[in-house]
């Protein structure tokens, strides 16, 4: 690891539709506040993707932006190289779709994905929009997963991956499970600021990246927000 934990914010200009920058900020702050030096490395469209970062954060985008992003990541396979040596990757919304073997867009065109995880995605009949609450699978993290979804895609997970959580409210991948985990790659349909609302997942990613379980960090506003949103979703 370099002297600072490097968080690659991947293609914020293409995959930044839903405040995805927030996830990188949360990782950076939660480390620096605990004395772990960390920095955000934005990788913009047209720039090569470094393979030396510790954490990669990939956000959501519209169809054309998503296709363009896949093309770019294929031409500059730094993130895939990093994945093969065990770098931590968070894929949000579009992330879950483009990381898989293939994804079919709303216009019925099928695109090859990056093949980082064992999944495939297709367009669902209806757009899933609204609050989501889901229960973690296999004690992967503590507390409920909570967030907001707005996507047309549906994702089927193959045997090499496992679901992140079971849906209590909302749609997630397919109405029953939400997100996926494969090695140190974690994907979710809960878009944008999923880490601000789910600090336990932020800390899990930090633990994977640094090899040490981080100190507890209680932020009053975050605790309050989690309670309020779970209550609003009727859980």
């Amino acid at each position: 690891m370099a002297s600072k934990v490097q968080i690659a914010l991947v293609l914020p200009d293409l995959l930044g539709t839903y405040g995805d920058f927030g996830n990188a900020v949360v990782l950076e702050k939660r480390m620096t506040w605990r004395g772990i030096p960390a920095e955000i490395v934005p990788v913009r469209f047209g720039e090569p993707v470094p393979d030396s970062c510790d954490i990669y954060v990939v956000g959501g985008g519209e169809d054309t932006a998503q296709t363009l992003a896949v093309r770019h990541l294929r031409d500059h396979p730094g993130m895939q190289r990093a994945a093969s040596r065990g770098a931590v990757i968070l894929g949000v919304c579009a992330g879950i779709q483009i990381f898989g073997e293939k994804f079919t867009r709303a216009d019925d065109v099928t695109h090859p994905g990056l093949g980082l995880v064992d999944s495939s995605s297709h367009a669902g009949g209806s757009r899933a929009i609204g609050e989501v609450v889901a229960e973690p699978v296999d004690g992967l993290f503590e507390g409920l997963l909570t967030g907001f979804e707005n996507h047309q895609g549906r994702t089927v997970i193959g045997p090499s991956a496992r679901p992140l959580a079971r849906v209590k409210v909302g749609t997630g991948n397919d109405g029953s499970v939400e997100g996926l985990v494969q090695g140190r790659i974690l994907c979710t349909y809960l878009h944008g600021p999923v880490l601000p609302r789910n600090p336990q997942i932020a800390d899990l990613l930090i633990e994977w990246a640094t090899g040490t379980k981080p100190q507890p960090l209680d932020l009053e506003a975050v605790t309050r927000l989690r309670q309020e949103r779970a209550k609003a979703a009727g859980v």
Binding site: L14, G16, G22, V25, K29, F148, P193, A221
Partner: protein, 394 residues
């Protein structure tokens, strides 16, 4: 009568209900009510209400103008406004971007003003590229003139193929939604103020009107001072768009500017209220582009700030956009997080390292500030409620 009834029953301001009934009785009401008038439509993501008010003031140099100045910008609001001023030979209407195609079909506008396009209420309005395509189709049917910003890639794409376009360089830019070309999906490259697609022929058109710092330059090269009462660069952009549209309607530029200068209070926005020894300036911001612009206005003072966030249907239920607003700019200032979703905002402020407290009621938040000046920035329904509750406090 129905709008009075609506007000009496406490259903709302009465800006829509009359129109809603009229449209039920006559689905062609909008076409009938616009027929025989010269119509200007104003749409875009930010600045619609202000630009519409500026343009209607400017066009009033020519005669009576029917306009929906209260911000009721869907067809029922248009019908209500037009019904109230049946004799007015001119109509200047603010149009919600989602309803723009329908209103264009019904009203055959002489001038269509397209201000800007950025992401706004993604769960309700949809994604910006879909809006761009719908606006492009609608604008292509406009037989009058389209006034459009050439500094906005989405707007340029939507307006470029129209029969007659007046391009305005507004000098404002939120480019975060347009890294890739809306036409072909390839990257956009910026060189100073110029931009072009690296693949297809979409590029910044040469502007006819140019916005400077406090002035505008007309297509004939005349420099006109703006001297607006409204703050911020974005209001200069609104003013130049309005002046260019007014010129197309037949108003002399000096007359137009003199009239739009008189705008100081747009549906309660920029109003200052006095409360318990505090002077609070009310600013409305609805989406990341709007908040970014408003924060630059607020940054000119060191006053404490109350920020109020709701997430009703009209605001958009999804608050992910809070992470796209550079709240870090408020570091070191006294801030209160307010509104029904004050806690979402508080989390954002926590990570922006802006010290703050939470007081959900915006009026109580104002009262909790030190005596003196306070900046209040609120999103749509938070602003509307605050404005209604402080109506007599002016």
């Amino acid at each position: 009568m129905s709008s009075k009834l609506s007000q009496k029953m406490g259903l709302g301001a009465g800006g829509m209900i009359g129109g809603r009934i009229a449209l039920k009785l006559d689905p062609q009401a909008l076409a009938h009510l616009t027929s025989g008038r010269r119509v200007a439509l104003v749409t875009g993501t930010n600045g619609k209400t202000t630009s519409t008010m500026m343009l209607s003031r400017a066009v009033s140099a020519l005669g009576e103008v029917a306009t929906n100045h209260g911000g009721a910008n869907m067809p029922d609001g248009h019908v209500t406004a037009l019904s109230k001023q049946q004799e007015a030979p001119y109509a200047v209407l603010e149009v919600d971007e989602g309803y723009f195609p329908e209103v264009v079909r019904a009203s055959n506008p002489s001038v269509a003003v397209l201000l800007n396009l950025s992401r706004d209420q993604l769960d309700r309005v949809g994604e910006v590229r879909t809006i761009e395509r719908n606006l492009r189709e609608a604008l292509n049917t406009v037989t009058g003139v389209v006034v459009a910003s050439c500094d906005d890639i989405m707007v340029t794409s939507a307006a470029r193929d129209c029969a007659r376009v007046i391009w305005v360089s507004t000098g404002t830019g939120w480019h975060n939604d347009a890294a890739s070309c809306p036409r072909c999906g390839d990257p956009i490259r910026w060189q100073g103020e110029h931009w072009h697609c690296t693949n297809c022929d979409l590029a910044r058109p040469k502007p006819d009107w140019v916005t400077g710092d406090g002035f505008l330059i007309t297509p004939r090269g005349e420099r006109v001072e703006l001297s607006l009462r409204l703050p911020g660069k974005f209001n200069m952009a609104n003013a130049v768009m309005a002046a260019a549209a007014a010129a197309e309607m037949g108003v002399a530029v000096p007359d137009a500017v003199q009239r739009l200068r008189t705008v100081s209070n747009v549906a309660g926005r920029y109003r200052t209220i006095q409360r318990s020894g505090r002077r609070a300036r009310l600013l409305l911001s609805k989406n990341p582009a709007g908040w970014s612009e408003t924060l630059t206005v607020v940054r000119e003072s060191a006053h404490p700030a109350v920020l109020a966030i709701n997430a009703h249907e009209a605001d958009g239920r999804d608050l992910s956009w809070l992470w796209d607003v550079p709240f870090e700019q408020l570091q070191g200032r006294r801030v209160i997080a307010s509104g029904e979703r004050a806690t979402d905002l508080a989390v954002r402020l926590t990570y922006a390292e802006v010290e703050h407290t939470i007081i959900p009621d915006p009026l109580e938040a104002i009262d909790a500030m030190p005596v003196g000046d306070v900046e209040v920035i609120a999103n749509y329904t938070a602003f509307r409620d605050l404005n209604a509750r402080s109506a007599d406090g002016e």
